[in-house]
């Protein structure tokens, strides 16, 4: 299958005071379209950094990242923002819902960046909330939802624009076992039923089991399978 993500010779360092801390060292890999990839590794191994680079919210020091045919490293900040709005759905560990907006309004947020009409946006939001099983909670604010429900709303927000790629950073890290299972089942369904390409960072081996490909990172280097 044609790769949807192509990472080539990517390196990234952070500076703390005057010390350079290498995070990723000459990483290269590909992810075929429709795959469910789990990135695993100990804390500080660089997996979240790699996820951020693929999602276009961070930039590598060296190397190229091509996602869905676009060299995202070459994009300027403004174009990169538009690219993210179109191609990437984000799922965060702590859900990152906007507390002053209802579930409906949170899911609608990414759609405000499209040219859809209000009626079309409503259809998209309702579809996304139906997929995650929370259509009846769309008028609720995040604080009126459980952790698992919040994460499902976050997933609805991630899929509402029908993005090319879903990136999930420890999506079950803040959930109890039952809620975590629900979320993982939902991600699996999105991958199998809706053919979404998913890149997930996780510490949890049970979560990684749902993925088709598991890649391990250690000290900024991708381990051989």
């Amino acid at each position: 299958m044609e790769p949807i993500i192509r990472v080539q010779d990517v390196s990234k360092s952070y500076w703390r005071d005057s010390f350079e801390i290498p995070v990723l060292n000459n990483i290269s890999f590909e992810v075929p379209s429709g795959e469910f990839l789990a990135l695993m590794g100990p804390s500080g191994s660089g997996k979240t950094t790699l996820l951020n680079l693929i999602a276009g919210i961070d930039r590598p020091d060296r190397g190229t990242i091509n996602v869905a045919g676009t060299d995202i490293v070459a994009l300027n900040e403004s174009r990169l923002a538009s690219w993210r709005a179109t191609h990437v759905g984000f799922i965060f560990q702590f859900y990152n819902l906007i507390p002053v907006l209802t579930a409906y309004e949170n899911v609608e947020l990414p759609l405000l960046l499209t040219s859809l009409s209000k009626r079309e946006r409503r259809e998209h939001v309702e579809t996304a909330l139906t997929v995650v099983g929370l259509k009846d909670r769309m008028r609720h604010y995040p604080k009126q939802l459980s952790g698992g429900q919040e994460q499902r709303v976050a997933i609805a927000r991630a899929i509402t624009t029908d993005p090319t790629l879903l990136v999930a950073d420890e999506p079950t890290g803040d959930l109890d076992k039952h809620s975590a299972d629900e979320i993982l089942t939902l991600l699996e369904r999105l991958n199998l039923e809706f053919k979404k390409t998913i890149v997930m960072v996780t510490h949890d081996p049970r979560a990684a089991e749902k993925a088709h490909i598991i890649r391990h990172l250690d000290k900024g280097e991708l381990q051989q399978n």
């Binding site: 919210i57 507390p99 405000l112 927000r157």
Partner: protein, 388 residues
């Protein structure tokens, strides 16, 4: 695409205490700011209402006000021979040669203050139809009697009908009360011009005011006036314009002093708004990171936070203005620099004051919110998301 306005509005409601305190601070400054402007405008409005567009007032060119102007009777007669001066059916010019003097009276609140006494001529009510006798009667011509303006009666002891005021070595009985419709004449006492000249041993009026047969012929009249060699030391002005100029010094002083003080106050409110907005940015760092990750641009974040700050200040401005608007029900008096005498006036609100006060509030919001909004817009997405 903009971050929705409901995000901004609802966030204002989440920090009720800090938002409330900031709004209160801005409201207080706007209250003072608009009160000062309303005071200056009140003075201006009162004095401008004193004059009429249909009347012409002649004063000595070098005089700063009516008090320092002198027009002898011969000159007054020359003026009244000029063309375009309106006449009564009996053929008398509709004019009033007026000596203006200042006397001291005791204020009801204690202390002495200056009061203008204006000598008027028999055509005065035709000349100034907005002045109406409210109580009592008109003074008798040729007697030492006075009628008093409503603002004087309310503020000065011994100024009621039947009471006697002593000045220029004589007793003057108050026989009537007049209402000049909130104009500067309400703060005056009027008597027979000839009696006043006699009592003060003067032979010259301070000013002469007369009506033109048509208001639009003023330039023509002025041309004739300027050609007359005996009138070179005098200057005719539309009466309203004359009093408008008289108000400028006083209104300007109040405005400048008041605005200077409120600008200093506003620094405090602006810093308050800035602290509130910095706190808002700090509390919502993750939200900003999330919005940016979703694809909202820096300028959308900047606009959202700046709008929040502007809304905060607009609410403060509206509250301040709302309370300031009640000042319109108050009348105060102060010493008018133009006439050196007490002038009663009401605070007056105008569309310009409303818009300037709201603009002033928005300026505080803009200045207070700009740096925090820039900080929010410049947040690094990864660092912002990490702060969760």
């Amino acid at each position: 695409m903009k971050i929705p306005l409901k995000y901004t509005i609802r966030n204002l409601g989440t920090r009720r205490l800090t938002t409330g305190i900031t709004v209160l601070g801005i409201a207080l400054v706007v209250f003072v700011f608009s009160a000062v402007l309303m005071m200056a405008y009140g003075v201006q409005k009162t004095l401008i209402a004193t004059g009429s567009d249909e009347n012409v007032l002649v004063a000595r060119k070098a005089a700063n006000g009516e008090i320092s102007s002198i027009i002898d009777r011969q000159t007054a007669n020359v003026i009244l021979t000029l063309p375009h001066i309106a006449k009564t059916p009996e053929g008398k010019p509709i004019s009033s040669g007026e000596p203006v003097v200042i006397i001291n009276l005791n204020k009801l609140t204690g202390g002495l203050s200056n009061v203008t006494v204006r000598g008027v001529s028999q055509q005065v009510f035709t000349l100034r139809p907005h002045v109406k006798l409210k109580e009592g009667r008109m003074f008798n011509w040729g007697s030492r009697e006075l009628i008093t303006g409503v603002a004087i009666e309310k503020r000065f002891a011994g100024s009621k009908i039947g009471e006697v005021v002593r000045f220029a070595g004589d007793n003057w009985t108050i026989v009537g009360l007049f209402d000049a419709g909130g104009s500067g004449f309400d703060s005056e006492m009027w008597g027979d011009a000839d009696q006043l000249l006699d009592a003060f041993n003067r032979s010259a009026y301070s000013t002469i005011t007369f009506r033109l047969d048509q208001p639009e012929v003023f330039q023509e009249f002025k041309a004739a006036f300027d050609k007359e060699p005996r009138l070179q030391q005098f200057e005719p002005k539309i009466e309203r314009r004359y009093f408008e100029e008289q108000s400028e010094l006083m209104a300007g002083f109040i405005s400048i002093l008041g605005i200077f003080i409120t600008v200093i106050f506003s620094a405090g409110s602006t810093i308050g708004a800035m602290i509130t907005m910095y706190a808002a940015v700090a509390n919502r760092t993750v939200e900003v990171g999330t919005l940016r990750a979703l694809g909202f641009r820096r300028r959308s974040v900047l606009a959202a936070f700046l709008t929040e700050s502007l809304l905060l200040s607009l609410i403060g401005g509206l509250i301040g203005l709302f309370f300031a608007s009640f000042l319109q029900f108050f009348t105060i008096s102060t010493l008018n620099f133009g006439s050196f005498s007490e002038l009663a006036f009401s605070f007056a609100l105008s569309p310009t004051i409303v818009s300037s006060s709201l603009l002033f509030a928005l300026l505080m919001g803009l200045l207070g919110g700009f740096l925090p909004s820039v900080r929010a817009a410049r947040l690094n997405i990864v660092n912002a998301l990490r702060s969760s």
